[in-house]
Symmetry: C4
Subunit: 298 residues, 4 copies
């Protein structure tokens, strides 16, 4: 959503707004780059501070200071953002507003709830800000091309995901019957390992197995043990593998085509037609004017 300009009349506020929220001005660009650098540094500190060897002195103290330094900086940034934006409530409830808050909250929670500061790893979510900055650089068209390829293929992808979900559920149900001890009801009288595989005794476990298997991750923590189960697994793997290659094909075809015909994700407001050229001003089917391309903002 396009961020409304700040209340006019306060030059400092306007200047700060330009620096913090705008990205096309030199000051805005510099601020964004500094922010990304700071976010990366704070994530590095959080990652390092979870390592066991870093619990000893003097590392622990240094990391403790650094974590609070970044918390202070991010808190200041958050407060300033709230103060200078025209609609603070809207920023506070926006996607990036919530992430900005989540990045500082755990440190303060740590005062009241012991161990609360351990949640500081959610600070990694702030890395998503990088995508906002990517918009500005030369990577814009590349990122946009990828996003558009995904967007245009969304119906195909929806069909595909539905298919995968159904295949996963049916596979899981069959393996639950074949391999599990049927999950529901009282256990078998003897309870010997030949009757059922505890890995498949509930549908959620069987679904976990099906996803791990059909994406070819194959941890091996849940595996079939019976001959029938192994045979079914072999067939399901081949079926699942065939299924899961489909989106590669869809996406590749989309990217190939996009290359020769750069289009936008705008849809005609009157006839809903999609796939307009980037320089199109009127809908090619009904002649109604198109909205200019919107820019995401927060």
């Amino acid at each position: 959503m396009s961020e409304p300009p700040p209340v006019s009349g306060s030059p400092l506020r306007e200047r700060l707004h330009e620096i913090i929220f705008e990205a096309d001005t030199p000051a805005g660009k510099t601020f964004d780059m500094a922010l990304i650098a700071m976010i990366c540094a704070s994530v590095a500190v959080v990652v390092i501070s979870t390592m066991e060897s870093m619990q000893a002195e003097p590392y622990a103290s240094i990391l403790y200071v650094l974590e609070w330094l970044f918390t202070a900086l991010f808190t200041a940034e958050y407060v300033i953002r709230l103060l200078i934006v025209r609609r603070p409530a809207r920023y506070a409830t926006s996607f990036f507003g919530i992430i900005d808050l989540l990045a500082i909250l755990p440190a303060f929670i740590g005062f009241f709830v012991p161990g609360g500061e351990r949640l500081l790893v959610v600070r990694t979510l702030r890395l998503l800000r990088i995508f906002r900055v990517l918009k500005l650089a030369r990577y814009l068209s590349e990122a946009a091309a990828l996003r558009e390829a995904l967007y245009i293929s969304r119906h195909k992808i929806a069909v595909f995901i539905t298919t995968v979900m159904i295949v996963v559920l049916i596979s899981a149900a069959f393996m639950h019957i074949v391999e599990g001890n049927y999950g529901v009801g009282p256990p078998d009288e003897s309870g010997n390992p030949t009757v059922g595989n505890p890995d498949f005794d509930s549908m959620p476990n069987a679904i976990y197995w099906a996803v791990i298997t059909m994406t070819t991750v194959g941890y091996g923590d849940v595996t079939p043990t019976t001959a029938v189960g192994k045979g079914m697994t072999a067939i399901l793997v081949l079926v699942g593998y065939s299924l899961i290659i489909v989106p590669t094909g869809i996406l590749t075809a989309e990217i190939s085509q996009q290359r020769s015909r750069p289009i936008t994700t705008r849809s005609c407001p009157s006839c809903m037609l999609e796939g307009h050229d980037r320089d199109a001003t009127y809908c090619k089917r009904c002649g109604q004017p198109l909205e200019p391309e919107r820019h995401a903002d927060a």
Copy 2:
């Protein structure tokens, strides 16, 4: 197969037929959506009821009631379908007719055979109904495009699957010789672990290994232990990997091409030419009229 219209003369029956079997009318659409929602809910109940923590009260009772509620609804639907369709035997023996029966049968089997209701997980098969409904929505063309890409590539895919099967079997045979204790005949006199790997002592096990390995799932429950076996595995993995990327290429090429030329799977009844445009009425090669596109039905 196109479902024949019901015996005329009974308005209620005709109305019910329209609601349950037709999908283009508002009533039919609403019924289909409600059915899909109910199927999803019943699958969720079945999945949840297999979890160990759900065997305790009060969850067990609630789930028991819900399961019987869905069983009652699905039974009513099944009976009505049988009554209003002109050829009940044909529906009962159709793909979806069998699935509809399988979804309710386990509950009743549970009366006679203890534990029979555990088979209720086969109810997940009813999710396949979603594909029938997909036909109606805007996803039709997407699903059709995927199906056609697969259909048109079916000869290439047949060649590919044959090749994979042969490579799997030959790989399994070689690993069975190299790693296994030869399976057939009496075991080796010493039986020391250096002689054979029990994981490879039968061809079915070796085939299971070959499929799990060449699809890159790689559970790790069956792995080579000898130097020769490891070397062969490394080579087979590279060969198998190369083989298995082939269908991605085939499918992508097909989807790419289809994009620019939307075609159907109809073939000319007189010259067998395939690949007609969707709006074609006559064969483009021999000028004979084409059959209209058939709609799967059940």
Copy 3:
């Protein structure tokens, strides 16, 4: 290689040659289909006979009889092939000739060397005959298209395989240094597990790990244990993954292109230009006549 016609003058021999070696005549087609069916059946027998539960009576006896039945049939076929072909030595040393021999040899070896009949699983190699029959059916063009896509991309694939091999070797060398106990020379004085990971103590083991990892099979039987090793693995996996997607792209592009321009693998005998159209009679660059398309034979 084109099989020479049999010595003329013997009608029976000529007739048998037509049945066994030719594939375009009805008799030849029937023979080929029967042979494929028999090969599949014999492979099924071999696979089943390696299962432990099939070592008991009465299965063992039945399978024993069936195995000898197929051995007798294949031996007869092999002898007849040798007798009717004009150059028996050439057939006997050809690819399929050796496979035909390998498929019957183990049974006879079993007379002299106990357990020799266990090698009967090499009979699976005869499944490769299926590819010869595929040539005849409608799958010819599909199989040919795949073969040509691979053939035309062979230089790219060679570059790719060389790259993969080098990356595998270098990765293995680095992991051998980082994770292994250096393999060469005397072991460390203490020999404690923190020093080296026995899984990486020799380069062949490290190469096995690298192949299993970079193809994303990931058995998990060889995994890094040190922090440095894990970090390197994460980087290598990403690098290797990027590398290994390359052939998919190459092949897809080739298949896409081939679709619109059916070409053959013939190269001009005078200027070595490749990629001639299927109906080309003269080289498009130098105008020299091209050889007609050769048909593989054996």
Copy 4:
């Protein structure tokens, strides 16, 4: 960088320079081929000498002699390269110069530091020389096509890698919270296994897990144990899998397009336009002369 010609005036030096550094002359080609063969042989020796069974006599002695033979030959080659090249310092600090040194250094280090010769496996790095020789052969255009496809897609790939990194970090952070025992701070009072999974107790471990999982390698040495963790893993695997197929699509589209329009990686020095045809001498947009294609050298 184009290697400057040697100091003129010394015919022997000039001749050696031609043999060792040039690749288009018959002598240079022969030298390159011999060098590649020698590098491959030396790598084979190093690989074999790390095998445990090769530590015994007489293999150990033979391998010891062979290793020193190759060390001597490579040392001679390195010294001659240093002597005949016009700027020895530049060669010594070049990529291949450093690798050439690394390939011989460990043998000499072994004199002073026991076990130093174990680092001889870094000799595998010399295999990279193969890429220099590939430039000369018919594989040039293939290698160049691959390199260009990667080069042209570099912005898309940068966006993609950034996305993957962020998804990996965020996934790792969430699994660290859900599965780990929070890493930071004092351990839980009870320390029972239901509280935390030691595999996820530090962010680096969680990142290792995320990379191994999302590339579908799936070793299985680090796996989720809680229901929430398994559910999140299933979702992350599907998300990650979708993400990781993106570069395949990008690369395939690039290769497809390149096929029909062979271009180079040169960019116009005045308007920075890229994608010029291989035989272009002037920029197609602004008409300024283009630089001739540069040849990497060392």
